[in-house]
């Protein structure tokens, strides 16, 4: 059928680095094509970074994305330390990994909540966000802020986790494990969630390879990419853990991967705490004299997948070029595969499944007439159009699928 309805989703979609406007071209309930626009959130961070010193860039990259506010400094630190040939102390490695995994824990809880919200299952939303609060409290205790932790610097971390705080962290983690049990039980055994997510938004192995998708999106399709294992950094080679994968590639598989990853995160943090107790307190930085000329590539596994930072240094105290690739940049593009042919209701959860953090439903319905560039219709036009369409359907004698 040639007549298609345009349904805009967005444009303000701020829970990720690249907010955009999704235009769903629908035929009745079925999404036939999907187009997207971005640029609403363009802040020229790569350009801005060239005007800041290496120490300042950490605060900038932290503010690329509020949820991944440790993964970006992580990757940047890896890149710069690669240029300068710095090996950080064991204590700094453990602290970095603890912060990274705590972030994964809070981010996955956030995602589970939002996914529930998208399914219209607000109980899960409220539960998951309630269980996320103790993790944020932990962040406040360790770093001084609930988000944007400012923990990283070239050659180590800015603050120590004192050994006296370790029992408190352990307590929160053991509580969190019980809460995840509860949540995993509620999500994995719920027939409604099964019905809404199984076989929805399927990405095959070939799609993942074609779009070079990363993180839980890839792992849910059976592609075991995890930078923590593949290109080990910080304390990840020092602890025992496994990469979680699932088959199926649908929304349910993605939820499964994330839920099971939370257990791994808890276990990694606990092992890092063990390690922390063995090394000397306060030994968190090494001296950095200068960043020599050179090229460095740093990677880190964010909750959403691989973060890639490419830094070109010309020997001055700020980067000559700083290229950033966030995981959503490749994961979002897979929408073209996962959403087409679905109903609109399933398309939203398929969009949310790669975790672009689709919380701004509030803004989905707002009429952004200027953004679509379409001529506005008044009420009479709309009535006339709907009458015409009803007439057509009646004539064709067919209802919707």
């Amino acid at each position: 059928m040639s007549r298609k309805t345009l349904i805009p989703i967005g444009p303000y979609h701020p829970l990720q680095e690249e907010p955009e406007l999704f235009k769903l071209f629908c035929d009745g309930e079925i999404v036939r094509d999907i187009k997207w626009e971005t640029g609403y959130n363009h802040r020229s961070i790569e350009k801005l970074s060239e005007s800041k010193t290496y120490d300042q860039v950490f605060f900038l990259v932290e503010r690329i994305c509020g949820i991944c506010s440790t993964s970006h400094p992580f990757a940047f630190a890896n890149a710069v330390e690669e240029i300068a040939g710095i090996e950080i102390t064991d204590r700094a490695k453990y602290i970095r990994s603890i912060i990274g995994e705590l972030e994964r824990l809070h981010s996955h809880l956030l995602w589970v909540g939002l996914a529930g919200h998208f399914l219209g299952y607000n109980t899960v939303f409220m539960w998951a966000w309630k269980y996320r609060e103790p993790v944020l409290d932990l962040f406040e205790m360790i770093t001084g802020n609930r988000n944007s932790y400012a923990m990283f610097k070239v050659g180590g971390v800015r603050r120590d986790i004192e050994n006296s705080k370790i029992p408190v962290i352990r307590k929160v983690l053991s509580d969190a494990r019980k809460k995840i049990d509860l949540l995993a039980g509620a999500v994995m055994d719920d027939p409604v969630i099964h019905a809404r997510t199984k076989g929805v938004g399927v990405l095959t192995r070939q799609d993942i390879i074609d779009y070079a998708a990363v993180g839980p999106t890839a792992r849910a399709s059976g592609v075991p990419i995890d930078i923590r294992k593949d290109d080990p950094y910080a304390a990840y080679p020092l602890v025992n853990w496994k990469v979680i994968t699932a088959e199926g590639g649908d929304v349910f598989a993605k939820a499964e991967v994330r839920l099971l990853e939370m257990y791994e995160s808890v276990s990694i943090i606990e092992q890092c705490l063990d390690g922390l107790e063995k090394v000397r307190e306060g030994d968190i930085t090494v001296k950095v004299n200068e960043i020599p000329e050179g090229i460095g590539a740093g990677r880190a596994e964010a909750p959403r997948g691989e973060v890639f930072h490419f830094v070109v240094s010309d020997g001055s105290n700020s980067p000559a070029r700083h290229k950033i690739r966030a995981p959503s940049y490749v994961n979002i593009a897979t929408f073209k595969k996962s959403c087409i042919g679905q109903t609109i209701a399933d398309a939203t959860i398929s969009l949310a499944a790669v975790d672009p953090c689709y919380c701004c439903t509030e803004r989905m319905a707002a009429a952004y007439d200027v953004s679509s560039g379409k001529r506005l219709l008044n009420a009479n036009d709309l009535i006339a159009l709907s009458l015409k369409r009803t007439e057509e359907i009646r004539k064709s004698g067919a209802g919707h699928e």
Partner: protein, 145 residues
């Protein structure tokens, strides 16, 4: 296979197109190639060797426009960057997007930020500049004296 070997093998296989190759660290390698050979080498890496395209980084330097196309070998943790140098006046290169969709957005972005033309790109539409800066303005270009 050792990283060094991997890079040497690729450089040998495309000997006529390779300008230089360099092992930065044990898991990082850069191969400088002629820009006409990018698609052939990328195809070899992607189809025969199973590399994953990460991203491409463009730079504006005194030598002209440079592009590093980063590929990742996920089983060994190797990042292999194919480095090409393009013309100062009219930077243009063959698009990789017909081979894999992953490079679609980044090529459009490089076109808007640096003004690099990608030949045979499937849909070279605006990505981020619309409403932010005018067409024909390339904010990431630099002024060299």
């Amino acid at each position: 296979m050792e990283t060094e070997e991997v890079i040497e093998n690729i450089a040998k296989k495309f000997i006529s197109d390779t300008v230089a190759f360099d092992l930065v660290k044990s898991r990082r390698g850069i191969i400088t190639i002629r820009h006409t050979a990018l698609t052939a080498i990328a195809e070899y890496l992607y189809r025969s060797e199973g590399y994953r395209f990460i991203i491409a980084s463009a730079l504006h330097t005194r030598r002209g426009f440079e592009i590093y196309s980063h590929f990742s070998m996920d089983t060994s943790g190797l990042i292999l960057s194919l480095h090409v140098i393009l013309d100062k006046e009219k930077p243009r290169i063959e698009s990789l997007s017909n081979m894999f969709s992953a490079s679609n957005w980044i090529e459009r972005e490089m076109h808007e930020l640096f003004g690099i033309d990608f030949l045979n790109h499937p849909n070279q539409e605006k990505l981020i500049s619309d409403g932010n800066w005018a067409e024909g303005v390339y904010p990431y270009r630099k002024e060299f004296k």
